[in-house]
């Protein structure tokens, strides 16, 4: 028990004294996962909307693949991104392995199916007649897409939350493609694993508290955007 209390006490001290290393790791985590989420939104929202609105052969298979992708194990993503970025791999010439960019790529691969899948579901829950009604009202193709996105904006916020929450807390891919290099690719989750392994529970607890706080703050902000519309 004493170990835990001591750990928490030291963790708070690290936080309040703004330990440079802890701050650095936190900042890198936010940057990497934020970028990965933004990229997955840029791809997932149009893609999810498109798939929701079109009928084509093999659509069922595509939807199944996306749903599978929503549960993609990060270690598997880490493995394949590693192979691709490996010095002798297809993209080895870019020399991205063990850089923050590699983590962004891996996290993008994890978040993109989540955002795509949730957007698909969000757009599909709009009544089928809505599209027809908007076309009948004189909406052009771009206007229709804009109106649909606006109708689905609340469930799409869930996609943002799930995407960001998924990547900031994943570890397998970050560890494999980032390498957990101190000062370069060490993020909150990989640092927590390392410090726990070394028996530095105080640092591990401090990092965990920060991770929890970030996940809470993001979800709280997005939820408060969703809620006040209740009339």
């Amino acid at each position: 028990m004493e170990l835990i209390w001591e750990g928490i006490r030291h963790a708070l001290w690290l936080l309040f004294t703004a330990d440079p290393e802890v701050l650095g790791i936190t900042w890198l985590s936010l940057q990497v996962s934020g970028l990965a989420t933004l990229a997955s939104l840029a791809v997932g929202i149009p893609l999810g909307t498109l798939i929701a609105l079109t009928r084509f052969p093999g659509r069922g298979l595509v939807v199944s693949l996306i749903n599978t992708g929503m549960g993609l194990p990060p270690v598997v993503v880490g493995l394949f991104v590693s192979i691709f970025l490996w010095r002798s791999g297809p993209l080895g010439a870019l020399e991205l392995l063990y850089t923050p960019t590699a983590i962004v790529i891996a996290q993008f691969v994890i978040a993109a199916p989540i955002v795509t899948g949730l957007t698909l579901a969000a757009v599909q829950q709009i009544p089928p007649g809505f599209r027809l009604q908007m076309l009948a009202l004189g909406a052009s193709r771009p206007q229709l897409l804009w109106l649909l996105a606006r109708e689905a904006r609340l469930p799409m916020l869930a996609a943002v939350m799930a995407g960001f929450g998924g990547v900031i807390s994943e570890i397998g891919a970050s560890m494999m493609v980032g390498g957990n290099i101190r000062g370069q690719t060490r993020v909150l989750t990989t640092a927590t694993v390392l410090e726990t392994g070394k028996g530095n529970f105080d640092v591990a607890i401090a990092l965990s508290l920060i991770l929890l706080a970030i996940v809470f703050l993001v979800n709280w902000a997005l939820t408060s955007l969703q809620q006040p519309r209740r009339a």
């Binding site: 027809l132 009604q133 009948a136 009202l137 052009s140 109708e151």
Partner: protein, 376 residues
């Protein structure tokens, strides 16, 4: 009928829609004329909504041609440009998740009308539909009737050249439906908006339609004035669907003893109802309310209307007999077998057909000199 109905606004020719090898729509010719309300009635699955979507340029037909003001669709103007000259209201109000005002002006917004001007053009419609006080409310909080009124305001606000209504009252409870039906009737008569109304409800078609098209199995079986369709259905299926009601087109001559005197063909009837001289009305009579008597017995005395006529047809339907009497107009009566035998009912037999003044159901169909003009 509206005297000033004119050229076809929207017309279809040789329209076919086939899905999965099965024809859903096979319509030789249909057209809605300037200023008229064309009611399309038929059972579920008859292809009414498909026809409306095809005419509304929302679904391309497998074969056939749609013409807008005489010009084939696809030649010249884009679908979008043509759609922007129409407006639709569906069974579901299908509003956006925003305020009533923003919803109502959406059609104008999509046409690039700036907000202040859009507001100015929408307000009269919110007033006319009784939802002005809800302008700032979220559409999510509206009742079914209020939401459908918003949908109608949204459609009327763009001042469409053709208004397409697909079962606009079906989702409403009876009181909301009745109120909205009355308001819509008034607006359509005031504005003279060219309208296609799809409905499975006979009364709506009778009340709003200048002409009625009966659809079944993807085809239009009959397209005529309502009283013709109901009085002289072209086939058994049409008769079965529209029912065997007597619907007589007449004109109010005046009031008499608190009753209305109405001229139908060359006969005059006394019925309960409201109206003034010159009003055009439809007198609806259920066949079981028509009493038959032999001449000169003249039927029961409480019947205010006694019309001499000649039996045209006697057909058994189940336990009852359907008797058609020609009184200057056909009148259908349902009578029991003993009555048929007692009266010796057969073709050519002279009888008296009677009904009580309270048995008639009156539908007003506007006035001969009805003023026309746009709202706003």
């Amino acid at each position: 009928m509206r005297a000033d109905t004119g050229a076809p606004v929207l017309a279809g020719r040789g329209l076919r829609v086939v899905t999965g090898g099965r024809p859903r729509l096979e319509v030789e010719a249909v057209a809605v004329l300037e200023g008229e309300v064309l009611a399309i009635i038929g059972p579920n699955g008859a292809g009414k909504s498909t026809l409306l979507r095809v005419l509304g340029l929302l679904e391309p037909p497998t074969a056939g041609e749609v013409r807008f003001r005489g010009k084939p669709v696809g030649a010249g103007a884009s679908l979008l440009a043509l759609r922007r000259r129409m407006a639709s209201v569906f069974q579901e109000p299908l509003l956006c998740d925003t305020t009533v005002l923003r919803n109502a002006r959406l059609g104008l917004t999509l046409r690039g009308v700036p907000d202040p001007e859009a507001d100015r053009r929408v307000r009269p419609w919110l007033d006319r539909l009784g939802i002005a006080h809800l302008a700032g409310r979220s559409a999510r909080t509206l009742s079914g009737g209020e939401a459908q009124r918003t949908s109608l305001a949204r459609a009327f606000a763009v001042e469409p050249e053709v208004l397409l209504l697909d079962e606009p009252f079906s989702g409403l409870d009876p009181s909301a439906r009745e109120a909205l039906l009355g308001d819509l009737e008034g607006i359509l008569r005031e504005t003279g908006t060219t309208t296609i109304l799809v409905t499975h409800d006979r009364d709506e078609a009778l009340r709003l339609g200048d002409r009625v098209a009966v659809m079944m199995g993807g085809r239009i079986l009959q397209l005529a004035r309502p009283e013709e369709v109901f009085a002289a259905p072209v086939s058994e299926e049409v008769a079965h669907f529209v029912g065997v009601e007597n619907i007589l087109a007449g004109e109010v001559l005046g009031q008499e003893d608190g009753l209305l005197r109405i001229r139908v063909a060359d006969r005059s009837l006394l019925v309960v109802g409201e109206g003034a001289a010159g009003d055009r009305v439809l007198v609806c009579l259920r066949p079981e309310d028509i009493l038959l008597g032999s001449v000169p017995g003249a039927g029961p005395t409480s019947a205010r209307n006694a019309l001499p006529g000649k039996v045209v047809r006697v057909v058994p339907i189940g336990v009852l007999w359907r008797v058609v009497v020609d009184c200057g107009f056909p009148l259908v009566a349902l009578v029991t077998r003993p009555a048929v035998e007692a009266l010796g009912l057969e073709e050519g037999r002279e009888v008296m057909a009677g009904f009580k003044a309270t048995a008639a159901h009156l539908l007003r169909r506007g006035r001969l000199d009805r003023p026309r003009g746009r709202l706003v």
